[in-house]
């Protein structure tokens, strides 16, 4: 679904590259954690997938197409196949929950009857039915993030990119968000989540790709993450992944934990 072929990104000439010859492949329907400290290149990775930025060298493939050479007018088409969620939600403050989600469909010209069908369906999936008419500031942080997720998936993208989606949320609220992302992943959406929240990574036991200073230092199935750990200890809690393609069965290990989370009562306060 996403393939990086010796991709480097240098923002300022002469500066240390934000990504340094990164090669990796993320398969369809995979759930991948992108971990690393701030400035390790996680966000740059996501921005390259969306063609927010262009690679300085190397090739990026998304959904079978090379996007490094994509002409500018085809970029919107690429982005329609990708949903994005951010740490700061980025909802439109003047629009209701329903309007915020519908916005993503309106601006790409979806007909009204499609919007009338898809938006309530998506809001139900993120468990926000009944709050359609609320404004973002009337919602808790977790609820706001659910609206943002609904907006990201309402157009049924093949890929969901999440840039520290739980960064502003307390642990129990985060668990609810993770449960939701996991459910979205099971419906066939490839999910790539950048995070440095080790608890979440360790609970979910998904594939973990660790970046340090723009280089992939670890790529591991059912991986864990210890933010204090340095370059070493590649086998911590998981099986080292042979680089490149050919991946099978990603769900089982994390499933039990995800299931346990499903019974976690939602205790969201006004965390906004």
């Amino acid at each position: 679904m996403i393939r990086f072929d010796r991709v480097s990104k240098v923002y300022k000439r002469g500066a240390r590259p934000a990504l340094d010859r990164v090669s990796l492949e993320i398969e369809r329907e995979e759930f991948v954690f992108l971990v690393g400290a701030s400035g390790s290149g996680k966000s740059t990775f996501l921005r390259l997938v969306m063609r927010e930025e262009q690679a300085t060298s190397g090739r990026v493939y998304v959904a079978g197409r090379e996007i490094t050479a994509l002409s500018q007018w085809k970029v919107p088409g690429l982005r329609r196949r990708i949903g994005v969620v951010f740490q700061d939600f980025r909802l439109l403050p003047g629009k209701t929950v329903f309007e915020n989600v519908a916005f993503a469909q309106q601006v790409i010209g979806r007909p009204r009857h499609t919007i009338a069908r898809d938006v309530p369906e998506t809001l139900e999936l993120v468990k926000l039915s009944g709050k359609e008419k609320r404004l973002p500031h009337e919602l808790s942080g977790g609820e706001q993030q659910r609206v943002a997720i609904a907006r990201a998936i309402v157009n049924r993208p093949a890929i969901l990119l999440a840039d520290e989606p739980t960064g502003n949320l307390d642990p129990s609220t985060s668990a609810g968000i993770m449960q939701l992302l996991d459910r979205i992943n099971r419906t066939g959406t490839t999910v790539v989540m950048a995070t440095h929240d080790e608890n979440i990574v360790n609970q979910m036991r998904k594939r973990v790709i660790q970046l340090i200073d723009g280089e992939v230092v670890r790529d591991q199935e059912y991986g864990t993450y210890d933010s204090a750990e340095g370059l070493d200890d590649p086998d911590a809690g998981g099986r080292a992944r042979p680089g490149g393609a050919g991946r099978v069965g990603s769900i089982p290990a994390g499933a039990t934990l995800a299931e346990t989370m499903e019974h976690t009562p939602e205790t969201e306060g006004g965390a906004a």
């Binding site: 007018w73 982005r79 980025r90 916005f103 601006v107 790409i108 010209g109």
Partner: protein, 308 residues
């Protein structure tokens, strides 16, 4: 349909949010287009004044008409005879003047009467004018207008010639004033147009800033560049169109009450004034210029402020 409603909604929101700016854009466009329109109308008036003769004729040789009392000595013999007319024609067509004269047209008394009738036929005093009172004349187009004296000297003072008139000498000061006024209008229009472009650019930048969140999300969910930029472009275009409408209204009122009502009744030497019909003629041009101003501003600012 969804798209159209959505774009119009965004447009309305943008205008509400930025109302004082939108108003100033409208006003600046309005003033700029009024000057453009005024310049165009002045030139149209000049065109009407020049009439059908001016650009073809530099020199008019008036032959003596049938007057009770001749006003010049050369007309002592009364109305110019056919011989005298032939003599003048002979001089004008002579080899000596051939390098200076390009074209000669002889206007008979009857033609002069018809032309006058066409111009002022509906005025009271015209009833007392007869064909016999009209002078016949030679209209002469010169090869080189600066050599007018050479030709004038040859024919003036001859028997049967009442006067030799340099048509340009009469109208030139009038046209000079009008052309200066046109230049002034165009100059002011240019300044106002630059102001309009800068102001629209600033307005678009402001509204792009205030809609940064929206445009960012639009980009993320894959809205096309055109769709993202459309509300901004429409905002500019709408302001420009309202400005053009105001300018047209102002010019219309000016011509209706300034020219049609006042000038044409108080200044009689000119018969052919511009009318409100001429205002309608230039109105589409003003709209086009207004939209062009908005388009240029949009292109400049959007490429800078709504990165894709």
């Amino acid at each position: 349909m969804t798209r159209l409603r959505f774009v119009l909604g965004e447009l309305g929101q943008g205008l509400r949010r930025n109302l004082p700016m939108a108003i100033s854009v409208v006003l600046v466009t309005f003033v700029s287009l009024t000057f453009v329109g005024a310049a165009a109308l002045l030139q149209m008036q000049i065109g009407k004044l020049k009439g059908e003769w001016y650009d073809r004729v530099e020199l008019t040789v008036w032959m003596c008409p049938d007057r009770d009392k001749p006003i010049v000595a050369t007309c002592a013999g009364g109305e110019a005879s056919q011989n005298q007319i032939d003599e003048v024609r002979g001089i004008l067509e002579s080899d000596g003047l051939a390098p200076y004269v390009q074209e000669i047209y002889f206007e008979t008394k009857e033609e002069a009467y018809t032309a006058l009738q066409k111009q002022v036929g509906d005025l009271d005093w015209f009833d007392r004018v007869t064909v016999e009172m009209m002078p016949s004349s030679f209209r002469v187009k010169l090869a080189d207008p600066t050599q007018i004296d050479v030709v004038a000297d040859e024919v003036s003072g001859r028997a049967g010639v009442e006067s030799v008139q340099d048509l340009r000498a009469i109208w030139e000061p009038v046209f000079l004033v009008m052309n200066r006024a046109t230049a002034l209008s165009i100059g002011l229009a240019a300044v106002m147009t630059v102001t309009a472009v800068l102001l629209i650019t600033t307005t678009i930048r402001l509204s792009a800033m205030s809609r940064r969140r929206e445009t960012e999300i639009m980009r993320f969910v894959g809205a096309s560049n055109f769709f993202i930029q459309l509300p901004f472009m429409l905002e500019g275009a709408l302001a420009a169109l309202v400005g053009a409408a105001l300018a047209t209204t102002t010019l219309w009122l000016g011509v209706r009450y300034g020219v049609e009502e006042w000038l044409s009744s108080s200044v009689n030497i000119v018969n052919d004034y511009i009318s409100t019909a001429d205002v309608w003629l230039i109105a589409p041009g003003l709209a086009v210029i207004g939209i062009a101003i908005a388009a240029v501003s949009s292109i400049v600012s959007l490429s800078r402020y709504t990165r894709v």
